[in-house]
Amino acid sequence: MFLKLFKYDFKRTRFYGLLILAVILVFGAALAADIALFSHAVGRDTGVATELLFIGAVLFMQFLLIALVVLFFAIPVLITVQFYKNIASDEGYLTFTLPVSVEKILLSKLLNAFIWTVLEMCALGICLGMSFGMLEMNTGIIWSILPKDLWVLLVVGLYIVEFIMSTMFQYLLNFTGIVIGSVVARKHKALSSLGFIVGIDALLNLVTGALYFGFMVMAMFGSETGWFLSEAGTLTVMLIFGLVLLLIYAAAAVGMWFLSRFLLKKKLNLA
C-alpha cells in the first residue's frame, strides 16, 4: 500500500518535475558543448568565433542558473501544494478513507519529496560534471586544481547530506504547517496553512538565533580569558554549537512528525 501511495504522489509531480529536469539537462549539455568548443578554440587564431563561443557560454550559464533556481523553487512549491490538496481539500475525503495508516500517507509524501531532492542534486551534478568534464578534456586544468584530500571530499559529502536533510526538514515543516492550518481553520485553510508555515519557520529561526546570540556572548567573554581564541576553545564551542543546533532540529522534526500524525488521526477537519 505504501508503494502505491508513493506511486500516485510521484505520478502527480512527474510531469512538471521531469519537464524542468529535461530543460536543465538540455541547457547543461548546451553549456558543456559550448565550453568544449570554446576551450578548444582558445589559443588558436579563430577570432570572432572564439568571442561568440564565449558569449554563448555566458548565456547558457545564465539560462542554466535560471533553470536551476526554477527547479529548486518550483519542485518544493509543487509538492507542498499537492500535499495541501491531498490533505486539506475535498481530495482529503478520498485520502483518508483509503485503508492505509496516516503514517504511510505522510511517509509516502516525504519519500516523494526525498526522491525529487535527490533528482535535483543529480541534475546539478550532471550539469557540473558535463561542463567540467569538457574543460578537463581540452585543458587538463580541472583535475590538477581539484582538492583530492579525503577530508575535503568528506566535507563536500557532508554538505550534500546536510542540504538533503535540511530540504527534508523544510518539507516536514511545510506539511506540518498545512496540517495545523487546515485543522485550525474553518475557512481560508490555504491562508491559515501558509501562516503556520511562516510562523513555525520564524519560531525556529528565533530559537536558533537566540542560541547563536548566546554563543556570541560566550565567545566575547571567552576571548577575554584567551581560552576562546585558542584552537581547542574555538573547536569546542563550534562543536557544542553544532550539536545543540542538531538537537534542536532533530527535536523539532520529531515533534512535527508526531503533531501531524496526531492531528490527522484525531482532529481531521474536512469541511
Partner: protein, 234 residues
C-alpha cells in the same frame, strides 16, 4: 435480528461546545437498505463520517463489523461523501485504477459496465464532466466495491429527477446483497421505495427508527408523511 454491521452505544461527538451526536444508540443489521433521515444539522453527515473513519468520537462506543473505525474497517466500508473527491486532473480510467489499487473488493468490470450505460468515455478527464456526471461516476465507483457497508451521504442531492432515478437504480441494482447501505437524504419521497429501514435523527439523537413497511402497514402513512409529522415546524 441478524448480525449487526454497525453498533453504537452512547455515541457522542462534539465540535467545541456544539453537540453533533448526543449519546446515540444504534444497531444496523446486515443486508438492509437504511435511510438516515433528518433536517439540516441533525448529525447525519457526522454519523457517516464517524463510521467512515474520518472523524473520531468524543465519547461512547462505535463498532463497524465489531471493530473501532480505522484502517481495517476502511477496507470494508465504501463511502460516498457529498463532495467530489477525485482530482480534476484524473481521467475516469485513472479513478478506476486508483480504486483497483487500494480496494481489494473493487470490481472493475462491474464499474466499466455501469460506466458504459452512462456513455462516459473512460479517457475523459474528471474536470470535463458536468456536476451530475461527476456524481454518477463517483457513485458507480463506490457501488462497484463488494463492501460490507455502503455509506452514501446525500447521493441524490443536487441532481435532476432523471439522474436521481439512475442513482437509485444503481444503488439497488449493484450493491453487495449481503451488505448494508446507509444513505442520508432530505429527499425522502424519492428514496422511500428502496428503503428497508429508516432512522430519523434530530439534534444528534435517534427520535424514531423502524422498518419502512411496518410504518406503511401499521400506521397507513408513508415515510414522507411520518417525517413531516415528526419534524413539523411550529
Amino acid at each position: 435480528m441478524s448480525e449487526s454491521i454497525v453498533s453504537a452505544r452512547e455515541l457522542t461527538k462534539k465540535y467545541g461546545s456544539f453537540c453533533a451526536l448526543d449519546r446515540m444508540d444504534l444497531d444496523l443489521p446486515l443486508g438492509r437498505i437504511v435511510g438516515l433521515l433528518g433536517p439540516n444539522g441533525s448529525g447525519k453527515t457526522t454519523l457517516l463520517k464517524l463510521l467512515a473513519g474520518l472523524l473520531t468520537k468524543t465519547s461512547g462506543e462505535v463498532l463497524v463489523d465489531g471493530m473501532e473505525p480505522g484502517v481495517k474497517t476502511k477496507a470494508l466500508v465504501s463511502y460516498l461523501p457529498e463532495r467530489t473527491y477525485f482530482g480534476s486532473y484524473m481521467s475516469i480510467e485513472e479513478c478506476a485504477d486508483y480504486f483497483s489499487d487500494f480496494y481489494a473488493d473493487f470490481d472493475r468490470q462491474l464499474a466499466y459496465d455501469m460506466l458504459g450505460t452512462l456513455r462516459i468515455p473512460l479517457k475523459a478527464k474528471f474536470r470535463t464532466l458536468s456536476k451530475g456526471s461527476r456524481e454518477k461516476v463517483q457513485l458507480v465507483l463506490v457501488m462497484a466495491r463488494r463492501a460490507k457497508l455502503y455509506l452514501l451521504d446525500e447521493p441524490i442531492g443536487g441532481v435532476d429527477p432523471a439522474a436521481r432515478d439512475y442513482i437509485l437504480k444503481t444503488i439497488i441494482g449493484n450493491y453487495n446483497p449481503g451488505a448494508t447501505v446507509l444513505l442520508s437524504t432530505h429527499l425522502i419521497s424519492d428514496i422511500e421505495p428502496i428503503l428497508d429501514d429508516f432512522i430519523f435523527l434530530k439534534e444528534g439523537r435517534v427520535v424514531c427508527a423502524g422498518v419502512a413497511d411496518e410504518v406503511r402497514e401499521a400506521q397507513g402513512k408513508s415515510l414522507d408523511e411520518l417525517f413531516r409529522e415528526v419534524f413539523k415546524c411550529f
